[in-house]
Structures are given as C-alpha cells and as structure tokens.
Amino acid sequence: MDHFLQNLLNALQWGSFYALIALGYTLVYGVLLLINFAHGDIFMVGAYIGFFVATFLIGSYSYHIPFGLPNEVLFVITVLVTMVLTAGVGVTLERVAYRPLRRRGAGRLYLVITALMAGLILEHGNLALLGASRRSFPELIPKVVYQWGGVVVTNVKLLVIVTTVIVFLLLEAVVRKTKLGMAMRAISYDRFAVPLMGIPVDTVIVFTFVLGSSMAALAGVLFAAAYPVLEPYMGALIGWKAFIAAVVGGIGEIRGAFVGGFLLGFVEIFVAAFFPSTLRDLIAFFVLLIFLSFKPTGIFGVARSTKI
C-alpha cells in the first residue's frame, strides 16, 4: 500500500510537467489549429532563463540585490520574471516565424514544419551560445522531506502538484469567464468571421502565445527545481511526450491537456515501477494508442473545430 501511494505521488509530480507543457500545446492549437512543435524547446528556454534569473538574484554575477530577501521570495520572483521573459520569446517566435506565413495564407503543414525548425534553432542556438556543459539550478527552496508512515514527500513535490492544479483552474477561468477567453473560443470557432465582428485577431493570438509560453516557463522553473540539471536538449523528448498527452486528452481542450498529462505520468511511473524500464515507453505508448483507437479525438475531444 505504501508502495502504491509513494508511486502515486511520484506519478503526480511527473504528470504535472506533462500537464503544464500540454496546456501550452493545447492553447495554441485551440486558437490557431497550429501544432507548435517548438513548445518543448520554449520549456527548455524557460528553464535556462530561470537559471540565469535565479543565479543573478542570489548574486552570482558580482551584483547583490540590496534587501537580503529570503530564498522563497527569490524563487517567486524568479518564477514571475522568467514567465514574463519567456512569454517574450514565445511572442517573438510568433512574430518572426508564424505570423508572416499566416499573413501570406500558407497552409497549416508549412506552419508545422516551421515550428519544428524553430525548435531546432532554439536547441542549437543554446548549444552554440552557452556550450554543451550542463548547469545546476540553484537550490532556492531548501529541501524538506516529510514522512508519513512509509510514504515520503518533499516540499518541492507538493509545490509542483499544487501549482499545476491551480494553473489549470486559472486557465479554465480565463477561457470560460473572460472576454479574451470568449474571443479565443470565437476564433477557434470561425477564424474568418470573427474579424468582421471587430475582434482584433492578432492581439488574441499574441495573448494565446503569452499564456502558452508562460505556462512553459513555469514548467521549466519547477522542473529545474525538481531535477536540477539543465542541458540544451532537455525540452525535446518531454515536449514530444507532452504533445502526445495533449492529443490523448483531446488537443484543443484544456481539460484534455490536464487529464492527458497526468494519465501519461501515471502510466510511465507505474510501468517503470513494476516492469523493466526498457518496456516503459513501449507499454506507455501502447496504452495511449489503444485509447486513441477507441476515441480518436481524445478523451475530451469532439470531432469539431471549436475547442478550448
């Protein structure tokens, strides 16, 4: 029983990262019908920006911030600054790579290929700029280990899980309750009629990228806090897997990304716990394949273009 509960907690943490990244995929897809394959690398960029912000704040670059703030506060500042900066990267990407194509009426296939390319540029740009050496994320939150019976949990683990749930609820509220959310849903419903109603499509799209990229940044910083070794290719594999999670949940659906992310996390952790790890991805993706063959549109998906 302890064993099961412990793995449940492990799976919740691991699934949180998939869920957070999948939310970014799903937002962009919901509005633009674009699969933003660069999103995993935005997550990597977020982790690196978080690293530089955090090391700057703790005074690694011959500058000390004057107030002597406690590390927990520094962590919160790191998260917020990183989200803003990474949102800037996401918006720049949209401006430079996607918008010109969209304006010229290029097909969705070209957008997807551009996205793949943009991801590679981010990875190798990082490699060229910062070198291949790995970096260690500073331990801003002192590690506390709680033990209940045979179950062990750290404060970072709890933070990751709780943050993911809160972010999901916030996003749901934004999309369902605000005007911007209504505009996002309207664009996903009919991209050509919406401008006629006086809705600024470009603004809404930029806003979508801001939301998606800051989710990725949040995931990046939390990931770096939980697994503090950074490398340029860290976003590639987890990005693809999160994309699959989003598809299984029903891409374009926020609830789908959330559920799909956790589902993938659970399957992976439980397979690794009870089978040899060589079978992990095989079994995990086989299970997802079966899901999709019974419900090709994903768990929450409907076979229509209106989503989010």
Partner: protein, 388 residues
C-alpha cells in the same frame, strides 16, 4: 645585379623549402572525443591534456624516431557521445585525414563500435577511459590505458562489504549504455559470488536521457538493501543521488570511475558529500611524475586534472613510446600502423601518471585501482588502493 638578386631569392627559397621539408615531418594522430552530447567535460579535459603534451613535445624539438624528427600534429573529431558518430569520426580520421593512430573514444558506448572500425582498418587505437571488456576483445589493433570493469566491480564489492558490512545491495543503471550496463552486471555477479544468490535485492534500469527515477528508487528504498551502487556518468549521478535522498534513502551510495570526470560536485553539491567511488588515480597526495603532471596542468588550466585528462596523457605517451620503439617510420601508412601496433603490444612496465602498466595479450593494462571519498569540501580524497 638583378640576376644575382633573383638567383639569391631562388636559392633562399629552395633552402627554406628543404629546411621546412626536414622540419615539417609530422606525426598525425587522431582524436575521437565527445565534445558535445551528455559528457562534454570529458572531451574538453582530454583535449586539454593532449594540447599540453603537444606543446611540451613540439617545444622540446619533436619526437625522434630512428633518424628522423617529427612534430606532433593532432586532429580532433567530435563524436557527439553517439555510437554512430564515433564510427563515422573514426572512418574520417582513418581514410580522409590519414592519421597514424587514434586516441579515444573515451566512453565505452562509443569505444566499442569505434574499436571495430579501427581494427578492421588495421589502425592502432588506444581508448584512455573505456573500461568495458568488449572494447579490446578479439581486436589486436585496439588497446586501452585503464583497468577493466571485471576488475573494478570486485574492488567495489569488496569495499562495500568490508567498509559498510553490506549483505544486500541495490543497483540502478542505464540499460542502453555499454559502460553502466556492463559494470552493473559485473557488480551483480561479483556481489552474488560473495554473498550468495539473490543478495542483489534490487536491480533497476532506466534509459538514456531519463530524468525521473522516482519509480525505480522507490523500489530500491523499499528493498531493504544496505548499499546502492550507481555506475553512471556525472550528468545523471546528481539526479539519482538527490532523488534517492528525497525518497528517504539514508544508507551509503557507491560510485564507479565515471564519477570523477566532469563537474560532478558543481551539479550535485552537498548531496554527494561523504560518498565513495572507485577510480584510476587520486590527485590529492600525488608524488613524482604524477605530481609534476598535476602541477603543470593546474598552472595551465586553473584546475586539477581529472582521471580522463590523466589517462589521455598516459595513452598519448604510450603511443609515442611505441612509435619511438619502431626505430624509424617508412612513410607507408599501412606498414607503419602495423609496426606501431606490434610495438604497443610489447610495452612492459610503462610508468604512467596513473600508475605502472604492462599489456596483456588482449591489449589491456594490468594496473591498480583507487577508492576515493568525497570529503566535506567536495574534494576527492584518497581512501584506499587496490591492486590486482
């Protein structure tokens, strides 16, 4: 006057060419190193050691082989820490750059397939750091400068049994990489030989690029093992050690020779202090030529050389020794390569900075292993030496 001037220039030019021709003879040696990928620090420190040796040798006038004097000329190729790129780099070095011999690759994952290429092209290769037996097995042209895993594993087993009184052990390793895979299995074999079947109570695997080991480590923590053996590279060790501590593991963790290279302490911090690992040499308290090497390296690069740098240094010097022993190169690449190979196989009692070595018939040296402890300052402190 004018004719004289032209004549003078021509004579000067011819003399210069002759001099350059005589001086310009060079020994081309290839390096197959991981400059990018998961262990870039390994490639970096190998290159640093090589450059330092090159400067020293060329500064002293070059290598004298028989009647001729040669300058060293090193060609570096990046193998990206991938098996297939290592083979491609090998082919390029052998056929395109036409090197006399090759140093590297460092990690077994690249050294095993690259050794196959070197052997089939009959080009001598010395891997400084690959401890997997398959690297040199049935390959007369492939050598190494370090001890083997079947030797290292019993050293680790005896150490944990005597030091911690371990009766049950747990292992976690990357099943998709030759070095951890081979060493983990050697460790299991040696441990079960000493403590009986089933004494390795958890034998958990993961695959390259994984970052979350919580499921496997949960099994290990619940398995009631006395010690955890982690034969991984410095990129994964911090993640494994930290997650193990987060899941409540408080018992000793034992590492292997892959721990000592690269920025382990920078990535791992306090979590790794007090842990032990087996390695090739220990820079703290070194004497003689080892100390000389360490001092010169530290003065040049501002840090203590790791085991990879020391082994690369030894590997190149072994190769130069063999080249000198040929007493003259013919210029025919194929014959020269064979001559160098034959001389390498004959080397006895070579004094390297990582210890004394003689080669067995399989191209493996017989030498000692060292167990080091990571002390509270994060330094690798000499703890014990174990000889075969």
């Amino acid at each position: 006057m004018r004719r004289l001037l032209v004549g003078g220039v021509v004579v000067l030019a011819v003399t210069l060419m002759c001099v350059c021709g005589a001086w310009g003879k060079s020994l081309k040696i290839g390096f197959n190193l991981p400059m990018t990928g998961g262990i870039p620090d390994v490639g970096e420190s190998s290159k640093e050691a090589a450059e330092m040796l090159k400067e020293q040798v060329n500064g002293a006038g070059g290598v004298k082989v028989g009647k001729d004097v040669y300058d060293l000329d090193f060609v570096y190729e990046d193998n990206e820490e991938k098996a297939e790129s290592a083979t491609a780099a090998m082919l390029k070095l052998i056929t395109q750059n036409e090197v006399l011999a090759i140093i590297g690759p460092q990690a077994s994952k690249q050294a095993v397939p690259a050794g196959e290429t070197a052997d089939s092209f009959e080009t001598p290769m010395i891997s400084p750091w690959s401890t997997n037996p398959n690297t040199t097995l049935n390959r007369p042209y492939v050598f190494r400068a370090c001890f083997l895993d079947p030797f290292q594993a019993p050293v680790a087993v005896n150490f944990v049994s005597e030091e911690f009184g371990a009766k049950k052990a747990a292992v976690i390793y990357d099943i998709a990489s030759d070095y951890p895979n081979g060493l983990a299995n050697d460790f299991k074999k040696a441990f079960e030989k000493r403590h009986g079947d089933g004494s390795v109570v958890a034998f958990e695997t993961f695959t390259t690029k994984d970052t979350d080991f919580s499921a496997q480590l949960t099994n290990i923590v619940k398995s009631d093992a006395d010690v955890l053996f982690v034969p991984q590279y410095y990129g994964e060790v911090p993640l494994i050690v930290k997650q193990a501590h987060e899941l409540g593991w408080k018992k000793p963790i034992m590492g292997s020779d892959s721990w000592g290279s690269g920025d382990l302490m920078g990535l791992c911090g306090d979590d790794c202090k007090g842990l032990f690992f087996t390695t090739h040499y220990s820079p703290v308290g070194a004497k003689g030529s080892t100390k000389e090497f360490i001092d010169r390296y530290s003065a040049k690069y501002g840090r203590v050389p790791n085991d990879v740098a020391a082994l690369t240094w030894d590997a190149i010097r072994l190769l130069l020794e063999a080249i000198r022993n040929t007493r003259g190169l013919t210029g025919n690449l194929q014959n020269d390569r064979k001559a160098v190979r034959d001389e390498l196989a004959k080397i006895k009692d070579f004094e390297g900075v990582t210890g004394k070595m003689s080669f067995t018939t399989t191209g493996d040296p017989i030498k000692c292993a060292v167990v080091v402890k990571i002390n509270d300052k994060g330094e690798y402190e000499f703890y014990k030496s174990v000889c075969p």
